[in-house]
Symmetry: C2
Subunit: 339 residues, 2 copies
DNA sequence: AACCTTTGCGCAAACCTTTGCACTATTTTA
DNA sequence: TAAAATAGTGCAAAGGTTTGCGCAAAGGTT
């Protein structure tokens, strides 16, 4: 079989049967106008020749590609791949495909990804902002043209764009309370960049958690990092070198917590005896490190599913008020934070 | 802006400028027939109105969608997501997008994925077989029609289909030799299902490694599992309960090795003093477990890149002899296997 | 002055599908 | 028996793009 004839079309069927293309089309769609006789013949041949409608032609006609663009900071973190899994799950049910692009945490690549995906005529976008993203003009065209758009986890423009997030304030409070209940007094928090909603909210939860436990806030125990392993190691070192060092640390995510764990161990300190540790996101390997890491589980698969559901409600009704879906997290207590 | 007019077309430009559609098309493609004057005007307006050609129309015309279907056993394992990253990297350079489907290690879902992706008119497929896949008829249509197809890691039909794999025999030999050099005598191997090329090859490397070191093969030390955590735990337990237990174990992949690690620890045995342990695949968390896990690093990103490259050479020349690309692995020695 | 070449552009087909409308037989109704 | 209704099909347009071919006007050659 030569190139360019890999798929058969209505035309092929029509020729074979000696009827017109429109008859074939109608027969396949069970249009009542077509005689049962012809309908049967057409459907039989179509099945035999393994016909399937050309989505390009349909797309052109209906102006709908049945594709969703998904932009994530990276593809390799379990958190994102699991969310993508959730999105895919719902998309598949609806007969949609997803086109994935990763921003690599770069604003520039994110902008490019938005452009490219729009060029491919996806019907809309589901996005988790890159770490660098502080300006949002690249989403204006979508918003103004009412093209479905959904943010998750790292979000913006929540007045205009539906989003799904976890209750970060609550989660950070849970951690702080947990430390407090277990007798820790000097609780440190390694935060992320200020412009990220997740970082802000977790900080807020940390602060209100302290207050609730009657602990005083000490500014030297609240430090920031850019969420890289390297930077996290550095700020952990700084924490451990304080004249009075913290007896408990929680990191904005597990990557940060793992880095902290290594640094703590490297200095010959014991977890949780000398310093307790809690992470955030509950990556798979939390259970496999020693000691097992207490962490906040994210309902990643559900986040993906919810995002996809919001997306489809957007497809159906592009002008409804955008809503924000807040999912609850769970604190999973393991050895790293209990003595 | 109302629905259905989100993108502007050649027609819009033509109308605006009072020329024909074909003139606009040619002007945008810098066709010499069009006067510089008109060309300039057209290109200016196109830029202003932010025109981009409709890929659906192009696809219809050229019978090319610039999309690649990718099927992986799952999306959430680092191994696969990293390979996907590699594929995406090359695809992006070529202006291609990838459509991802996961088989969830199920043959049925894999067959469905092949069907669905073909229906969406991807130009070809890059596939890692599911664990269940022992029959390959679902690829026949692609092979017979010369539709580009590339396998990686878990492969079949290598006489017909280009593939990229790692040198599993060599890798397993490296592990066995490493154990031997460190004085371990009773080396056990937890294999996977027989029909997987990777499992077979690693077994072969294990055997030849033993021979090279002058160690005798003992059938009770070669066990199989279905690569799930549960099953791996079970067979590890069996190994540890042998009248003379192994002093070293290597698992077919890191998931298996982690399961083994937990079981060994649970029984109060020390690693590597009582039992040494080596994994395969070098997932990220190898470094974070305690003791850090010796493992074979896979050049995952390169595997993805190579697979994509093979794919594109297939696009250009669908009838060339299929080649198999074999990539080398590296043994990364950590604490779990050295005493 | 009569013819040929070049320049610059438009027409229409092709890719594939759906669907409103028109058309031809056949059957029903008055 | 003539008129009207019905059943079963085909035509053509639309959606966006490229491209072979045709065509007109302008310029150049004897």
């Amino acid at each position: 079989m030569e190139k360019g004839k890999r798929h058969i079309s209505l035309k092929d069927l029509a020729q074979e049967l000696g009827v017109s293309i429109s008859t074939v089309s109608r027969a396949l769609n069970n249009h009542p106008d077509i005689s049962p006789n012809v309908t049967r013949k057409v459907q039989k041949l179509a099945a035999e020749m393994n016909y399937s409608p050309n989505p390009l032609a349909m797309g052109l006609l209906k102006q709908a590609t049945r594709m969703i663009g998904v932009i994530v900071p990276d593809l390799v973190t379990h958190f994102y791949s699991s969310i993508i899994s959730g999105i895919e799950h719902i998309a598949e049910e609806k007969g949609y495909y997803i086109l994935i692009a990763s921003s690599n945490e770069s604003l520039k690549k994110e902008i490019k990804a938005v452009e490219n995906l729009m060029k491919t005529r996806v019907e809309g976008l589901i996005v988790c902002l890159s770490q660098e993203t502080k300006t949002y003009e690249h989403f204006d065209r979508l918003i103004n043209n009412h093209i479905p758009l959904v943010f998750f986890d790292r979000v913006c423009r929540i007045d205009k764009v539906p989003s799904v997030v976890v209750d970060n304030v609550d989660a950070a409070q849970k951690i702080t309370s947990h430390f407090c209940k277990n007798g820790f007094q000097r609780i440190a928090y390694i935060a992320g960049p200020d412009h990220l909603n997740i970082s802000q909210q977790r900080t807020q939860g940390y602060l209100s958690g302290l207050k609730k436990c009657g602990l005083e806030f000490r500014s030297e125990l609240l430090v920031k990092c850019n969420m890289s392993t390297l930077d996290a190691t550095k700020v952990t070192a700084a924490l451990l070198e304080l004249s009075i060092r913290p007896d408990a640390i929680f990191g904005i995510n597990d990557t940060v917590a793992f880095a902290a764990m290594k640094e703590i161990k490297r200095r010959g300190l014991r977890i949780p005896e000398d310093v307790a540790l809690v992470g955030f996101t509950d990556e798979f390997h939390s259970t496999v490190v020693d000691p097992a890491l207490t962490s906040i589980t994210h309902p990643t698969f559900e986040i993906g599913q919810e995002a996809a559901r919001l997306f489809f409600s957007r497809i159906e009704n592009p002008d409804a008020e955008p809503i924000q879906k807040v999912l609850k997290t769970k604190l999973v207590i393991r050895k790293s934070s209990v003595r």
